[in-house]
């Protein structure tokens, strides 16, 4: 999403996001292994299942921290508009898909797709917003 990293704040944000993504992959693998071999029950199963979501929550917090730390108001504006695009895009998709599931018996969409789709829409928005300011 951020093609040319200029400021230390931006660099820190990108590094944090990459760490969060790596932890998400790692925790997903750990959770899958635990459920395949350990068969956890009760509270432990919820605890293990929620592991991959923790870095994702962290990434969302990092995004808020970036917006607070970024001194360049134009760059901040670009990200805010992109995040609005991402939020609107994902809300539109899951709402439409929900109705399609209810009425037309469309295949169930797993909620884990919400987060990557949000960033997909945010990325598309970022490109469109950047193009408007060129």
């Amino acid at each position: 999403m951020i093609c040319s990293i200029k400021s230390p704040v931006e660099r820190r944000y990108v590094i944090r996001m990459w760490i969060a993504a790596a932890l998400c992959v790692l925790f997903s693998a750990v959770a899958a292994l635990v459920f395949r071999h350990g068969h956890p029950h009760g509270a432990l199963s919820y605890l293990v299942a929620v592991l991959p979501a923790l870095p994702i929550i962290g990434a969302l917090i990092y995004t808020g921290v970036y917006l607070a730390e970024e001194k360049d108001e134009f760059q901040r504006n670009l990200l805010v508009q992109s995040l609005l695009g991402g939020t609107g895009g994902i809300l539109a998709v899951i709402t439409a898909w929900g109705y399609m599931e209810d009425f037309a018996h469309a295949p169930h969409m797993d909620l884990v797709w919400v987060y990557p789709l949000f960033w997909l829409f945010a990325g598309i928005s970022y490109g469109l917003v950047r193009a408007r300011y060129r």
Binding site: K6, K71, E73, F74, Q75, N77, R132, Y133
Partner: protein, 64 residues
């Protein structure tokens, strides 16, 4: 919003990157402000006026 940034910059022989460095913003920010596509906040407008040693009104003008 119309502005005289390009002229003021040219008078000092500054590139967009030079101005961006002085303002501590990205070059894209300077370009967006200069082309009138992005209106700066009041603090940034004051920073510009201090940098060019003039008033905000001398840099920016309301199109209406």
């Amino acid at each position: 919003m119309k502005n005289r940034l390009r002229v003021l910059r040219a008078e000092r022989d500054w590139s967009q990157a030079d101005l961006a460095q002085r303002l501590e913003v990205s070059r894209q920010s300077v370009n967006a402000i200069e082309t009138g596509k992005f209106d700066p906040s009041l603090p940034l407008a004051f920073k510009l006026s201090r940098l060019f040693e003039t008033t905000i009104e001398a840099i920016f003008s309301d199109e209406s």
